[in-house]
C-alpha cells in the first residue's frame, strides 16, 4: 500500500511538472490595452418640463431612459434636439440647475418631450500583441444596450449607440508586418452577423507575419461620424463616472469570431462623465491711474525738479513748494488708461481756476502764454525761457500707445490748462480710437514766477477725467 502511495505521488509530481513546462496556447493576453476617448463627455437624454420662448426647463425628475436631470453636462453652443427639432444652446442659467436658453425660440413642446445632446467620441485603441498570428485580424467589441434600440442615433442609457457607423469611419495604423486591408474591415451593430448582442463589433483584418510584441493603434469613429456615447445610466450620480468594458481580441485568419475563441483577448475599461463647464465674464470697462514721478528724471524732454511720487499727498499732488524767481520748476505725472470699449477712450484735463493765493481767486499765478505770448488752451507754443514769461502750464509726451494732441519737442512746447472759472471746456490730453492696453502718457507741469508775484502759497486743482469716446 505504501509503495502504491509513493509511486502514485511520484507519477503525479512528474505529470504536474511536465504540464507546467508545456507552453500555453491561446491563453496569452494583449498587453498595454487602452481605449482613449477624444471626449469622455456623456451624452444628454432629458425631458422637457416647460418651454417659454427661448427658455427651456429640463425636467429634474429622471424617467426610464431619460436620466439627465440637470444642465450640468450642457454648455452654450451645444447642438441639441428638442422633440426632434434641432436647436443651439445659447446660455445656461447660472442660478437654476435645470434651465437653459436656446438661440432660436424653442418649439412649443409639452412636458416629457425628449431633449438630446449627442456626444460622439472617437475611440483610439492601443495595445501590444502577445502572440505571433500571421494574416489574422483584430476585433474590438464596444458595449451596446440590450434594453433599447442601440442603432437609432439617439443616446442610450447603458451603452454606445451604433449611429450608423461604417468601415469608412474606422481606421488602423499600418506597421511593419501588419498591412491592414480596408476591404476586409467590418463594422457591425450589436446582434448583427457574427456580432453577439450586447457589443458593437469592429474587425480589422491584416496581412503580414503579425509578430508578437507589435504596437497596434486602431481608431473607431472620425470627424464624420462616431458611436454615440451613453447618456447617464439609471441611478447616475452627478460627477461620478459611468464605467463600461470594451474587449480587444485577436483571431487567426478565416475563423468565425462569433463561434471561435480568440487567440488573445484583453478587456479594458472606459469611463464617461459630465463635462466641467467653465465660465468667465469680461466686463466692458475703462481703467485709469495717475502715477507720480521722482525728480531728476527726464520727461517731455526736460529734467524734473519736483518729486510727485513720494511727496506729501503723492501721487495726487504737484508740490512745487518754494519757487525761485525766473526759474522753472518742473514736475510730471504718468497717466495710464486701459479699456476694452469699442472706439476707444478720451482723457480730458481742466483746472478749477488759476493758481490762487491760499486757494483763493486773487492774487494768482497766471496761466502761461509761453515764450511769445501765443500759446492758448487750443494752441501750443515753445516755453523754454523762464525770465519774463511767468506762468503755469503743461506739456505732453506719449509713452506707449496713447495719442496726444501735441508734444513737448525740443523747446518744451506747452499750453495752459483749460480754466473752469473762465467757462473754458476741458481739453483732450490723451486718446485712442480703439481698445487699449495700458496706454501711457506723461503730463509735465512747469511753473515760473517773477519778482512781482506776491509772496504766499498758490494752489489750484487739475482734474483729469477718463471716459469712453462718445
Amino acid at each position: 500500500m505504501k509503495r502504491i502511495i509513493y509511486f502514485g505521488s511520484l507519477i503525479g509530481l512528474v505529470v504536474g511538472f511536465v504540464l507546467l513546462l508545456e507552453p500555453t496556447k491561446g491563453k496569452a493576453d494583449l498587453t498595454i490595452v487602452s481605449d482613449t476617448l477624444s471626449t469622455s463627455r456623456l451624452s444628454v437624454a432629458g425631458r422637457v418640463l416647460t418651454i417659454s420662448g427661448n427658455l427651456v426647463t429640463l425636467n429634474p425628475a429622471a424617467a426610464t431612459n431619460f436620466n439627465s436631470t440637470s444642465t450640468a453636462n450642457m454648455k452654450s453652443g451645444d447642438a441639441i434636439t428638442i422633440n426632434g427639432v434641432a436647436q443651439t444652446v445659447s446660455a445656461i442659467n447660472s442660478t437654476s440647475a435645470n434651465q437653459f436658453t436656446t438661440v432660436a425660440a424653442a418649439p412649443s413642446g409639452s412636458p416629457g418631450n425628449p431633449i438630446y445632446y449627442l456626444s460622439e467620441p472617437v475611440h483610439q485603441i492601443n495595445f501590444v500583441t502577445s502572440t505571433s498570428v500571421p494574416n489574422g485580424f483584430f476585433r474590438v467589441l464596444i458595449p451596446a444596450s440590450l434594453t433599447v434600440n442601440n442603432n437609432d442615433n439617439v443616446p442610450d442609457p447603458d451603452g454606445f449607440d451604433f449611429n450608423g457607423v461604417t468601415t469608412a469611419n474606422a481606421t488602423a495604423s499600418a506597421t511593419a508586418n501588419f498591412s491592414f486591408v480596408s476591404a476586409l474591415e467590418g463594422a457591425t451593430a450589436s446582434g448583427g452577423t457574427n456580432c453577439t448582442a450586447g457589443y458593437h463589433c469592429f474587425e480589422f483584418h491584416y496581412t503580414g507575419t503579425g509578430p508578437s510584441g507589435s504596437a497596434i493603434t486602431l481608431w473607431i469613429g472620425n470627424l464624420a461620424k462616431s458611436l454615440i456615447a451613453p447618456a447617464p445610466a439609471s441611478g447616475h450620480n452627478l460627477g461620478v463616472a459611468d464605467a463600461y468594458t470594451i474587449k480587444v481580441q485577436q483571431f487567426a485568419n478565416g475563423v468565425n469570431p462569433s463561434s471561435t475563441s480568440p487567440i488573445d483577448q484583453t478587456n479594458s475599461k472606459i469611463a464617461l462623465i459630465e463635462n466641467v463647464r467653465i465660465t468667465a465674464t469680461v466686463d466692458p470697462s475703462i481703467s485709469f491711474s495717475i502715477n507720480g514721478m521722482p525728480n531728476s528724471v527726464t520727461a517731455c524732454g526736460v529734467t524734473t525738479t519736483i518729486n510727485t511720487q513720494t511727496a506729501n499727498n503723492a501721487p495726487l499732488t504737484v508740490p512745487f513748494g518754494s519757487l525761485v524767481l525766473n526759474t522753472f520748476a518742473t514736475a510730471a505725472h504718468t497717466l495710464v488708461v486701459s479699456t476694452n470699449a469699442t472706439n476707444g477712450y478720451i482723457v480730458t484735463a481742466i483746472e478749477n481756476d488759476h493758481m490762487g493765493k491760499d486757494g483763493g481767486t486773487t492774487p494768482f499765478i497766471p496761466d502761461t502764454t509761453c515764450n511769445t505770448g501765443t500759446c492758448t488752451t487750443a494752441t501750443a507754443a515753445n516755453w523754454d525761457v523762464a525770465a519774463a514769461h511767468p506762468g503755469f502750464g503743461y506739456s505732453l509726451e506719449s509713452v506707449s500707445g496713447a495719442t496726444v494732441p501735441f508734444t513737448a519737442g525740443a523747446n518744451f512746447s506747452a499750453k495752459p490748462f483749460a480754466n473752469a472759472s473762465l467757462l473754458q471746456p476741458p481739453t483732450t490730453i490723451m486718446s485712442s480710437t480703439g481698445v487699449s492696453n495700458s496706454h501711457t502718457a506723461n503730463v509735465c507741469y512747469r511753473i515760473s514766477v517773477d519778482a512781482t508775484q506776491a509772496a504766499g502759497d498758490y494752489e489750484n486743482q487739475v482734474t483729469y477725467t477718463a471716459t469712453a469716446t462718445f
Binding site: 466692458p284 470697462s285 481703467s287 506729501n312 483746472e351 489750484n460 477718463a466 469712453a468
Partner: protein, 331 residues
C-alpha cells in the same frame, strides 16, 4: 541700593520716552501719501430706453485697485459733444440743454470701495412725463479724495483729481426724427500707389445719437467691384459732425476708380450714400518705363544705322578698290 534702583528706573523711563518721542516725530515727518491705484468704471457706456413717466434702474460698478479702502465721490454731469472725434464735455449749466439727463438720475453721492474691491452702484432714472423723445446723455464719474480742496495743500502746488466714468445714453421713446448727412467724403484725386486713405464727416441731424456702419465699395475702371472696406463711424451725438476714416490697402492700380459710400444708421432704415472718383495709376513708373524703352529703341536704331553706314562705307571702299583693280588690269 534703593537710590541706585530709582536712578535705573528713571533712566529706563527716559529711554522709553525718548524712543516714543523719536517715533512720533518720525511718523509726523514721513510724507503722507494718497492711495496710488487704478480706478475702473464698469461699463464705459450704458444704453437705456424708457417711456416718458417711466423709471428705469441700472447697476454700475466701480473698482478700486489701491491697497486701501477709498471713499469715492460720485458725480453726475450732463455732457455734450462738440468736436469731430467724440469728446464728451461735461456741462454744468443744463437748463438749456435739450439733451440733459442729469436731473433725472438718482445716484449716491459717495461710496466706499474696499482695497482691490468692486462696488455696485444702483442708479435710477425717472423720466418726466414731459421728457422730450430722443437721446438724453450724462456721465457718472468716480473720484477718490473728492472732499479735498486745493487750499488743503498748504504749499504752492496743484491738487490732482483723478476721475473715471460711465457715459449714460437714455433714449426716451416717442416720435424721434432720424436724419443725417454726409458732409465730406474724399480722398486724394490722384494716387501713384496705395494704400488709398478715405476721410469723411457725417452730420447727425437726429433727435438721438446715431451709429453709422457700412462699406466703401471700390469699382475698377472697368466698373467691376474690386473691394469692400468696412466703415464704422462710431456714435455721433445729435447735431454734431463727426469724422471717420477708412483705408483701401491696394498698392497698384491702373486707372480711374469709383468709391461708393453706403452707411446705414438709426432704426428707421436711414442710409447715407456718397460717390467719388479717384485715380490710382503709377504714372512715374510708367513714364520711367516708357523713357527706358524709347531710350533702348533709340540706341538700337542708332547702332543699326551706324552698322549700315559702316557697311556702306566698306562697300564703297570695295567698289573703289574694284575700280582701281580694273583700271590696273586694263593698263
Amino acid at each position: 541700593m534703593p537710590a541706585q534702583n530709582h536712578s535705573a528706573q528713571k533712566l529706563f523711563f527716559l529711554s522709553i520716552s525718548g524712543f516714543l518721542a523719536s517715533l512720533i516725530l518720525l511718523l509726523a515727518l514721513t510724507p503722507k501719501a494718497f492711495a496710488q491705484g487704478t480706478i475702473t468704471a464698469i461699463p464705459p457706456r450704458l444704453d437705456l430706453q424708457a417711456d416718458p413717466g417711466q423709471t428705469v434702474t441700472a447697476s454700475l460698478k466701480v473698482r478700486n485697485d489701491a491697497d486701501i479702502q477709498q471713499l469715492f465721490t460720485i458725480s453726475v454731469d450732463d455732457f455734450i459733444v462738440t468736436d469731430t472725434i467724440g469728446t464728451p464735455i461735461p456741462v454744468s449749466t443744463s437748463s438749456n440743454n435739450r439733451w440733459s439727463l442729469k436731473n433725472w438720475i438718482s445716484a449716491p453721492e459717495f461710496i466706499p470701495v474696499d482695497a482691490h474691491g468692486t462696488q455696485v452702484i444702483k442708479i435710477s432714472i425717472k423720466v418726466p412725463l414731459t421728457g422730450l423723445p430722443g437721446g438724453h446723455y450724462a456721465m457718472i464719474t468716480y473720484q477718490p479724495h473728492g472732499n479735498i480742496k486745493p487750499a488743503d495743500l498748504k504749499t504752492t502746488g496743484n491738487f490732482v483729481a483723478q476721475r473715471v466714468g460711465t457715459l449714460v445714453y437714455l433714449q426716451v421713446t416717442g416720435p424721434i426724427v432720424q436724419n443725417a448727412n454726409v458732409i465730406k467724403f474724399a480722398t486724394e484725386k490722384f494716387h501713384e500707389q496705395g494704400p488709398v486713405e478715405f476721410a469723411g464727416s457725417i452730420q447727425n441731424l437726429s433727435d438721438i445719437h446715431i451709429d453709422p456702419k457700412g462699406t466703401i465699395s471700390i469699382f475698377s475702371p472697368f466698373n467691376t467691384k474690386v473691394a469692400d472696406i468696412q466703415v464704422d463711424a462710431g456714435n455721433i451725438f445729435p447735431e454734431v459732425i463727426k469724422d471717420f476714416s477708412a483705408t483701401w490697402n491696394q498698392k497698384w492700380g491702373y486707372g480711374r476708380y469709383r468709391a461708393e459710400l453706403n452707411l446705414a444708421y438709426g432704426t428707421a432704415g436711414g442710409v447715407l450714400t456718397a460717390v467719388i472718383f479717384f485715380w490710382l495709376f503709377p504714372i512715374r513708373l510708367v513714364i520711367y518705363s516708357l523713357v527706358g524703352i524709347v531710350s533702348i529703341l533709340i540706341v538700337i536704331i542708332l547702332l543699326n544705322r551706324r552698322s549700315k553706314h559702316h557697311q556702306q562705307e566698306l562697300e564703297k571702299e570695295v567698289s573703289e578698290l574694284k575700280k582701281e583693280l580694273e583700271q590696273v588690269e586694263n593698263k
